[in-house]
């Protein structure tokens, strides 16, 4: 207990005792955050790799599955997420410059855009549920991509018809439509994992908002804002790849059948 405050230099209350300076502390935590993000990149990267391999193996089925998703909503969601990345970057800027009110506004905007994204995603999920495109038989109406749903409009979500319009022979089209279950498994696994990251991000943003409200961040100390910003931008980057992979790259795949 011989710790003498008189010999210790005046330092920022947020400086942990194992660090000499605030700069060193920030550098260490940025490094740590990036190492964490790299493990996340490898996790999503594994899914991307598996997706590309199965797309190669079941190309026609992936064309059918991908064409059944509404690109416009995916496009709108991409813009929403890019917008939230901008407001997040602005929140970090406000923290760096000690602008407490602006920081709170930007964090709130980021959360609103994040919730908007998840709202659109929920709408898209419901559409897939309505078209009987949920893999397996567990959730409500079982997977039925060939003949449309049993109840209601029998033509709804009929992927076999779509494939036939792309010059796939009728017998093959029905079988290939069954294989779109693989595409939708990837679709829900990848967008679901992404949405989970968004939910976690929203929770962390709410925590940041409360800390910002208490005026804890300023030019000297804004590491938590910076690191949450890195996480949020990472989630944005994952979507930047998910959008073309799931919605765009397989849509024009008809020429291979003729």
């Amino acid at each position: 207990m011989s710790h003498n405050l008189a010999t210790t230099e005046e330092h920022h209350p947020a400086l942990a005792h194992q660090f000499d300076t605030m700069d060193q502390q920030r550098e260490a935590s940025t490094f740590g955050m990036w190492v964490f993000l790299l493990t996340e990149i490898m996790m999503f990267g594994g899914l991307f790799t598996a997706y590309l391999i199965y797309r190669h193996k079941y190309y026609t089925a992936f064309v059918g599955g991908s064409s059944s998703i509404d690109v416009t909503w995916g496009f709108a969601n991409t813009l929403v997420l890019i917008g939230s990345s901008l407001t997040m970057a602005m929140a970090v800027w406000a923290a760096q410059n000690g602008k407490r009110r602006q920081q709170m506004i930007y964090l709130a905007l980021t959360m609103i855009l994040g919730v908007a994204f998840l709202g659109v995603k929920a709408k898209e999920y419901y559409e897939k549920y309505d078209e009987c495109h949920i893999p397996g038989q567990v959730i409500g109406k079982g997977f039925n991509a060939t003949g449309g749903c049993d109840a209601g409009d029998p033509k709804k979500g009929n992927i076999a018809d779509d494939l036939e319009s792309r010059n796939v022979p009728p017998a093959a089209a029905a079988q290939i439509a069954r294989q779109t279950e693989i595409f939708f498994s990837f679709y829900f696994a990848m967008t679901g994992l992404h949405a989970t990251h968004m939910l976690i991000g929203l929770g962390v943003l709410a925590w940041l908002f409360l800390r910002a409200k208490r005026g804890e961040f300023g030019p000297e100390y804004y590491t938590p804002v910076e690191n949450v910003g890195l996480y949020w931008h990472f989630v944005d980057i994952v979507w930047i790849y998910l959008f073309p992979l799931l919605y765009l790259i397989s849509r024009n795949g008809h020429e291979i059948f003729s």
């Binding site: 700069d23 920030r26 550098e27 940025t30 490094f31 990036w34 190492v35 993000l37 790299l38 990149i41 490898m42 990267g45 594994g46 991307f48 790799t49 590309l52 391999i53 190669h56 193996k57 690109v71 496009f75 991409t78 813009l79 890019i82 917008g83 990345s85 901008l86 997040m88 970057a89 602005m90 800027w93 760096q96 910076e226 910003g229 890195l230 931008h233 990472f234 944005d236 980057i237 930047i240 790849y241 959008f243 073309p244 992979l245 919605y247 765009l248 790259i249 397989s250 849509r251 024009n252 008809h254 020429e255």
Partner: protein
Amino acid sequence: MESTMEHAHPSRKLYLLIFFALVVGTCVTYLVAKIDLGIWNPVIALAIACIKAILVILFFMHIRYSSKLTILTVCAGFFWLLIMITLSLTDYLTRL
């Protein structure tokens, strides 16, 4: 030396510029997907995605202004990601 780099934060104007570049990229990728370009559709879509990701990493994630240690960490990570994707695909795409 590092503290001099600390103060080179990007301005709000630059953030807006990057945002508009990302919006333009998204619109282009959306419109190009509606045109049938055969093999070039996925190539263009993924090239635009890569440009967008690089813009986000460099500016929104401040890698352009980071220390060499952080830059090296990020590069190493993406290098391993590329190894995973390319080596896996060279196998599966060349099987008879």
